[in-house]
Symmetry: C2
Subunit: 331 residues, 2 copies
């Protein structure tokens, strides 16, 4: 039996090229005492993966050259030897990486309840993106009923959950996304109050129009000009949550927020977050989100592509915007 | 009896030119019931004045064209008519503006205790700059004993008090200032642990050297490249306090902090502050600072220039760095 994997072999400059990874196939070794074999079902594609490819100090070490590309995943234990944390047939999620199979002692994996939702959701709204949204908007954003919340990357895996949680909590929610299709989705399927198509609208004009009282919370996934436009319209004591900056991940010359002095004038804060800090509270968040999904208050779309070989073209969709909802690779 | 005043007659682009103000002399009208005449002793020159000259939304309205230039001041009541909040002979501080005399009902002024310190200190360490430093480093910065605190504009009216309060609270304090004279002053007179001469040192190299564990609190008065260098060395959960950005006030093309994603990686925050929000707590802060000054734990230098006519060349010293300590104009 073989494992097929995408191995990082070259560090990118700017947008990664196909030759940054090499598809390798190896025989799966026989299990040792305490080991399990996981057959991966879905692999998560996230913008954060771009950061892990850089050889720089960050919140986790970079992926080493020669190592399988790091990624979240969901799968099933198909073999176990001796005393193991999970048993054959258990479904688990964790850092499975971009590969078809994982041999592991279980570290970095935890069990899921497949009766809660279809498997891909466990790397979407019930996985890291969902956790990021939940703790970002509730704990970092400290939203109150009646707040005006602006979200960029609003049709993405994190942004869509951020906006829906803010709606559940009684906020006015405006999403920024690229293209009419995504904007329609935000308003008509997810219940956002308004959507701004950054590809076809003037950001400043549209933010001003849809946030007449200004912005209480801006949840930023993109950085660049979008962050700068949002800063102009902050209200007093506004909170800007820096979750990501997809416009900057492939940039060779970084763009800082020129309008950051709006923080001063408005006594506002800009705060960075890393979801891993909230690991101890994931289970509560998962229960809440699962409940909202079950009751229809929170909708979750998954954009599925197939095959470990399709990793690179699918990965590119993170950056060219050609996707709707959580991007996953089905194995 | 006459009042001589500097009136704003033109809005600047970039660094203000002399013709932005006009020196005007007018007869002082006789007092009405409830009015006082204040003879101004010292006028405060602060970087924030540059911002008040712009016709843009900010934390207070801009100075109107034709209006006396806004400034803090300290002076003495030399006449009063009827029921007034202060009596002849009282010393007061407030928004006196750049003029020799003020006729007022007392709004925006409050009494001071001249026995506490020489008069100019009431617009320095015991005035707005001192209040800004006190609430900025203690309440916004939330410093803890053992924290590494980096301050820019460290030899200035705000920065010098920030650093000294942080020392009193048991922090390791590194100041950034321009020139050997200011750096010597920080270390040998104010007791800073280290000083970085940004005019003659590489900021990144020196910050790395003097903050080997990284920065817990960065108190920023300058923005630009200095802010960007500091961001690189933030520790986990660091607090960046945006008090000002003197490098940007005259800039026509603003420079945003390119390294702001350090906030994300380090779960750090960047927060703006305006001292006016703390008005209700000024008296406690003044007592603390006066006590520290009396005991010699906090030193305060005033750089005095003379004459209302000297306003413009003295104002320029705020931006060319040719001053040491709190800049004031003696009337």
């Amino acid at each position: 039996m073989n494992n097929t994997k995408q191995v990082l072999v070259k560090r990118p400059k700017g947008l990664p090229t196909a030759d940054c990874w090499e598809l390798q196939t190896e025989a799966i070794p026989s299990l040792e005492e305490g080991q399990m074999l996981i057959e991966q079902a879905y692999i998560s594609l996230d913008p954060a993966m771009r950061g892990w490819m850089n050889d720089t100090r960050s919140y986790i070490p970079p992926v080493a050259l020669g190592e399988v590309m790091r990624a979240g995943s969901v799968g099933k234990v198909i073999a176990a030897k001796g005393k193991t944390p999970f048993q054959e047939g258990d479904h688990v999620t964790g850092w499975g990486g971009v590969q078809t199979h994982v041999v592991t002692d279980g570290q970095g994996f935890f069990p899921i309840r497949p009766e809660w939702a279809d498997l891909p959701h466990f790397i979407g709204s019930l996985g890291m993106p969902g956790m990021t949204a939940y703790f970002g908007i509730l704990q970092e954003g400290q939203i109150q009923e009646g707040d005006t919340v602006l979200v960029s990357g609003a049709a993405g895996a994190v942004g869509s959950v951020v906006g829906q949680i803010a709606k559940i909590k009684g906020c006015t929610v405006i999403g920024i996304a690229g293209g009419a299709k995504k904007c329609d989705y935000l308003i008509h399927e997810l219940g956002f109050d308004a959507a701004i198509d950054y590809k076809n609208e003037n950001l400043k004009t549209s933010i001003k129009k849809h946030c007449p009282k200004g912005i209480d919370v801006y949840f930023d996934n993109v950085g660049g000009d979008t962050l700068d436009a949002a800063l102009i319209f902050l209200r007093k004591k506004a909170r800007v949550i820096i979750c990501g900056a997809i416009s900057q991940y492939n940039a060779t010359d970084l763009q800082g927020p020129k309008n950051y002095l709006s923080l001063l004038v408005n006594r506002a804060s800009m705060k960075g977050m890393v979801v891993l800090d909230y690991a101890a509270q994931y289970s509560q968040a998962m229960q809440d989100i699962a409940q909202w999904m079950a009751s229809g208050q929170l909708k979750s779309k998954v954009d599925i592509y197939e095959g470990i070989e399709a990793f690179y073209p699918t990965f590119l969709r993170l950056f060219n915007g050609d996707k709707l909802g959580k991007l996953v690779l089905k194995i």
